[in-house]
């Protein structure tokens, strides 16, 4: 549906935004490939919305440039940019009906026959029969779809979505995530999606940029970010990570050997975000679902070569498909372990002595100079 010749990547070069002495966005370079579903993920106040507004033209960058394809648009007002936005609270015009809301952009550009386009667009979002209603007569999910239709009908080069699902309840949000993904695949327009919901970002986006304190912490495909976080913030903000403070005992080979309390752990040197040196510190991370759990009495059943940590179960919660355990161990007082409920060991109850073990390949290493708890508070979203 987009005009391919006019398309192109969104390129942000050194853009930053200051409000007085407060820096909302530090100088930032970002290229968003044409046709991709790109997510800016971060807690509130991390600068993701400001970045989005600079692409829309609603905010002028303090430094740097914004380009769409070959064209620089840094100083163009929003109404001259081939970019449309789905606003957080939808911002539907309350005095116009749904049809006129969707037709608004077309009419402003002087297009005479809008009927076909508006009706097609309302069909795409499955709201054909609501054309004559006013926005306040629709449910939240329907309003959300109108907001998407109102933006998409203009065939923008880029569609910007500012927390578009924030106001919906969980079930509807899941539904709309799939819906938006379907629409994006159908129209092939670049979507830039701002969200604080890591699950939403990972479900929908091809590429996720995790932002924190006005900077991009890490950029990559969802799986890559999850498996290979480069900072403690990313490790904690995307899902849950067990981070163990350890001392590097051997470095230089393809594997790194570290020690924490009485445990000796191995991890691939390639999975360290810093270059470990013997005698230095390292934060060793492993995701809770990668860990297996056996009762201390069965310790000899653990295969050789796996990373092993001893501990005591301090809490367990059963949640259907899996059981989540919290383990008190000498290396870390609160290790989280998710175990699939395939064959449950009745001995694994709070107070039981256990051995945690996992494949060294699933271990990652982070620079120990960072705040080990960065990004933790924000894991649980407010909604």
């Amino acid at each position: 549906m987009t005009d391919k010749t006019a398309g192109g990547d969104v390129r942000l070069a050194g853009i930053s935004k200051h409000y007085g002495s407060f820096t909302a966005v530090h100088p930032l370079d970002l290229t968003i490939p044409q046709g991709s579903f790109f997510a800016l993920l971060g807690a509130s106040g991390c600068g993701k919305t400001t970045t989005l507004r600079m692409i829309a033209g609603l905010e002028e960058p303090s430094t740097g440039t914004v380009s769409l394809g070959e064209r620089e648009v840094t100083h163009l007002p929003p109404y001259k940019r081939p970019v449309n936005t789905v606003f957080q609270s939808y911002a539907l015009f309350p005095h116009l009906d749904i049809y006129e809301n969707v037709a608004f952009g077309l009419r402003r550009r002087g297009i005479k026959s809008v009927k076909k386009q508006v009706e097609d667009m309302l069909e795409l979002v499955e709201l054909g029969q609501f054309a004559q209603r006013k926005p306040h007569q629709l449910s939240g999910g329907q309003q959300q779809r109108v907001a998407v239709a109102r933006a998409l009908v203009n065939h923008p080069q880029v569609l910007l979505l500012d927390e578009p699902l924030g106001a919906l309840d969980l079930k509807l949000r899941r539904q709309m995530q799939l819906e938006l993904k379907r629409i994006q695949t159908e129209v092939g327009i670049t979507f830039v999606h701002v969200t604080h919901d890591q699950e939403e970002a990972m479900t929908m986006a091809d590429t996720v940029a995790v932002m924190n304190g006005g900077r991009v912490e890490q950029l990559g495909a969802p799986a890559e970010l999850y498996e290979n976080p480069k900072t403690t913030f990313v490790a904690n903000f995307l899902g849950t990570s067990n981070l163990i403070e350890a001392e590097v005992l051997e470095a230089g080979g393809s594997d790194v050997l570290v020690g924490s309390a009485d445990a000796r752990l191995r991890l691939p040197a390639a999975r360290c975000s810093t270059t470990p040196t013997a005698g230095g510190k390292l934060l060793v991370g492993v995701r809770p679902e990668k860990i297996s759990l056996v009762h201390a009495a069965d310790e000899d059943t653990v295969a050789a070569g796996r990373n092993k940590v001893r501990g005591t179960i301090s809490a367990s919660s059963f949640i259907g498909v899996s059981t989540q355990y919290v383990i008190d161990s000498p290396v870390c007082p609160e290790l989280e372990v998710y175990v699939q409920n395939i064959e449950r060991d009745a001995r694994l109850v709070p107070g039981a002595e256990v051995v945690l073990h996992w494949n060294p390949e699933h271990t990652f290493g982070l620079d120990a100079a960072q705040d080990i708890d960065a990004g933790i508070e924000t894991v649980e979203e407010g909604a």
Binding site: V83, F87, A91, F93, G105
Partner: protein, 264 residues
Amino acid sequence: MRWLRRNLVVIFGLGTLAYMILPNVVVTVFSFNNPAGRFNYAWQEFSLDAWKDPCGVADLCGSLSLSLQIAVWATLGATVLGTAIAFALVRYRFRARGAVNSLIFLPMAMPEIVMAASLLALFLNMGIQLGFWTILIAHIMFCLSFVVAAVKARVLSMDPRLEEAARDLYAGPVQTFLRVTLPIAAPGIAAGALLSFALSFDDFIITNFNSGNTVTFPMFVWGSAQRGTPVQINVIGTAMFVIAVLVVLVGQMVGNRRKNAQPK
């Protein structure tokens, strides 16, 4: 007893309504009176004379027409200026914004008689001829604060994202204002305008001080009350009341029809 408790709110409501409407009823009833003397205070007999000849009293219709003219122009002036001020106060940060914000409501708070006297002193000192223009200037002044109050409330409650959305959807500044800002602020502006019209039309104190030889309708009523009250005054009053009620009814009907206009 239980019946009373259940219907207490309705009874109070009806009571209040009666309290408000009673004066209008009296005015209407006495517009059909054929008074014995010069004063229309005691019921004599039913008559349509006054309704057949509403302008039958010297100067009455002249003063009425003047009052209507002043009310229309004052409404127009106060609405345009007040709307502009309201937008400026909400949307822009400028020096003395706080001062303007509170000073604008001074005319509402100040005793009218004080304002009337000060205005007269001002006009006399400036050597301005009292008459239509001084009345108009005074009316625009005291209507302004009401318009500002009404429009400000509306603009404050307006989501600034709506205008951003308009700009995002290819509407330039002028289009954004005409297509989005103004229509959404319209109820506030209309409320301010209606208030202005009503306030200007029946203002007596300030007008009386600053009118010179010009006589508006309220001044005419006041003046004639000294010598006798012609039935025509009740006729005009009743007509105004009926017109106002009709305007409200038509407005509500249009609103309802719009609401019911959608399929299903």
